[in-house]
Amino acid sequence: MLLRMSLIPAVLLALGVPVGAQWVNLKTAGIPRTPDGKANLTAPAPRAADGHPDLSGLWEPNANKYLRDIAVDMKPGEVPMQPWAEAVYNDRKTGARAGEESDANCLPQGVPKIDAAPAPFKIFQTSSQLAILQEAFNLWRQIFLDGRKLAKDPTPTWLGYSVGHWDGDTLVVDTTGFNGKTWLDQVGHPATEALHVTEQFHRRDFGHIDLAITIDDPKAYTKPWTVKEELHLLPDSELIEFICNENNRDVPHLPGH
């Protein structure tokens, strides 16, 4: 999967011609620009009609290293793994289980790995919800802002059930109801169905979102732990159709399948 994900941009670049004919070079409306027409990514963050910051836009994670290892900025041993989780992690990180990873099998990456997908995603914010269109795996995700509570004991899912509320200018998103089948990253930090992810989105200026992710999974970790990632706006571009399951030949060649 790592191989495929990292190859895709290179292949597209090499084949560059047809991409230009799509909407990936169209000027995005509503972006402040400098006098030379370039997007002014340090302009103030826009606000929605209700006064909250508006997170809408096409975003790309600065995050390939977090896709690989969500704890890459932490010191060795700092991730508070339960002993069984550490054993699973040590086995997975050798690469011997790569064929078991969900996205290698065209299954959803899950939260929070999807926040570090190298492919961009597009956020639509209304007063009652966020819809996120993920280029990776062609999936949507919904985050409800209408005050509903997280469901108790819902049917487990890959992407969970997400509700958000505003804490000042930061959108705090809580997600539970996972199926426990996803990895937090490609090296294989485990997660269980007890996972509770809290994402804090703060659009610090027009072009950047600071994203803090807290992992609270008492079955796999001895205490909650937090990592910080970053997203940047992708101006004058657009999502491209991504169909993982079309002619997927990777899995039989991956170890651990």
Binding site: P18, V19, A21, Q22, W23, L26, A29, S56, N105, C106, L107, P108, F124, T126, S128, A131, L133, N138, L139, W140, Q142, F144, D146, R148, A151, K152, D153, P154, T155, T157, W158, L159, Y161, L239, I240, E241, I243, N245, E246
Partner: protein
């Protein structure tokens, strides 16, 4: 297909009572409707001629499902004096004054045209679902196939549609999405309408910012869609479709020459009508238009559906 109906059964059970009038289903003698707890799902299953035992099995496993958000009340629903949703109230409008197509939509089984003679027999058993199998249902004489296209459709139908993209967990495309039984949620924002589709968590973007269709784009399952308002009708044009897509479950073909024009109208709060015109001279002798009718779906929510998870159907599908 079986996966779809199974899933729909789960949804039906979890919705609970009081969700939808039984009259929405003209199937009538459905055991699910008689139970009164399984409106959408088991009705669909019954119309497909499933043995009753199949429904019973899913009822047994239904514990715990009500914990999701599919009973959560929809906001901003106009009401009649007695507090019921007023489905014939005026359609909402966006800040620019255009009709707002936002909402959760499902097939309007009361409004769909009746099956016609050239629909396959199973369609006749499923009142209101003829277009899903044969999108030419309701078009006099059926679709104007080129000879090769008719032959291909007939072969695909004889093969039980086993190579339909739906069976292979690939995107359904615009037409099969429009006639599909699952929910779709439209969100209209300035410059764009987004559709979230329950089946395989697919999505579609329809731009309304005036952008021209791309010239010679990379072909895709979903194509490239741009719309503009003509009065209260949103006229959407789409190009850039992959060759070899399916227009319906039987397998009416679409080629890479296909251009699709959709006219979206929301005549009132509770209803949407989409006139879809397909101009594909490689596969059809002339353009044809199908009318899709959708109904608002209240107090429910999209569920996660991942087609490829533990998919075991495709290898068991057989043809002639």
């Amino acid at each position: 297909m079986r996966i779809i109906e199974t899933f729909r059964i789960f949804r039906g059970i979890s919705v609970g009572s009081g969700f939808e009038p039984a009259g929405a289903f003209s199937g009538g003698a459905s055991p699910g409707l008689q139970r009164g707890k399984t409106p959408r799902g088991s009705a669909a299953a019954a119309r497909k001629g499933w043995p009753h035992g199949t429904c019973a099995v899913f009822l047994l496993f239904s514990v715990g499902l009500p914990a999701q958000w599919i009973g959560y009340p929809t906001a901003d629903v106009p009401r009649t004096k007695d507090g019921k949703p007023d489905l014939t109230a005026p359609a909402p409008r966006d800040a620019e004054g255009h009709p707002d197509l936002s909402g959760m939509w499902e097939q309007d089984r009361r409004g769909a045209p009746p099956p016609v003679a050239n629909a396959q027999p199973r369609a006749a058993l499923q009142p209101g679902r003829g277009q899903f199998w044969d999108i030419g249902t309701g078009i006099e004489g059926g679709l104007p196939y080129q000879p090769w296209a008719r032959e291909l459709m007939q072969k695909r139908r004889a093969d039980n549609s086993k190579d339909n993209p739906d069976v292979r967990c690939l995107p359904l495309g615009i037409l099969q999405t429009h006639t599909h039984n699952f929910l779709r949620k439209y969100t209209q924002v300035p410059g764009e309408i987004v559709s979230l589709f329950e089946r395989d968590s697919e999505y579609r973007q329809i731009f309304t910012d005036g952008r021209p269709l791309p010239a010679d784009p990379q072909p895709t399952y979903g194509g490239y869609s741009s719309g503009k308002w003509d009065g209260d009708t949103l006229v959407v044009q789409t190009n850039g479709l992959k060759d070899g897509l399916w227009a319906d479950y039987n397998g009416s073909p679409l080629t890479d020459a296909a251009k699709i024009t959709e006219r979206f109208r929301r005549p009132d709060f509770g209803h949407m009508q989409i006139e879809v015109t397909v101009d594909d001279p490689k596969a059809y002798t002339k353009p044809w238009t199908a009318t899709i009718r959708l109904a608002i779906s209240l107090n429910t929510e999209l569920l996660e559906y991942i087609c490829v998870e533990n998919e075991k159907d495709a290898t068991h599908m057989v043809g002639k």
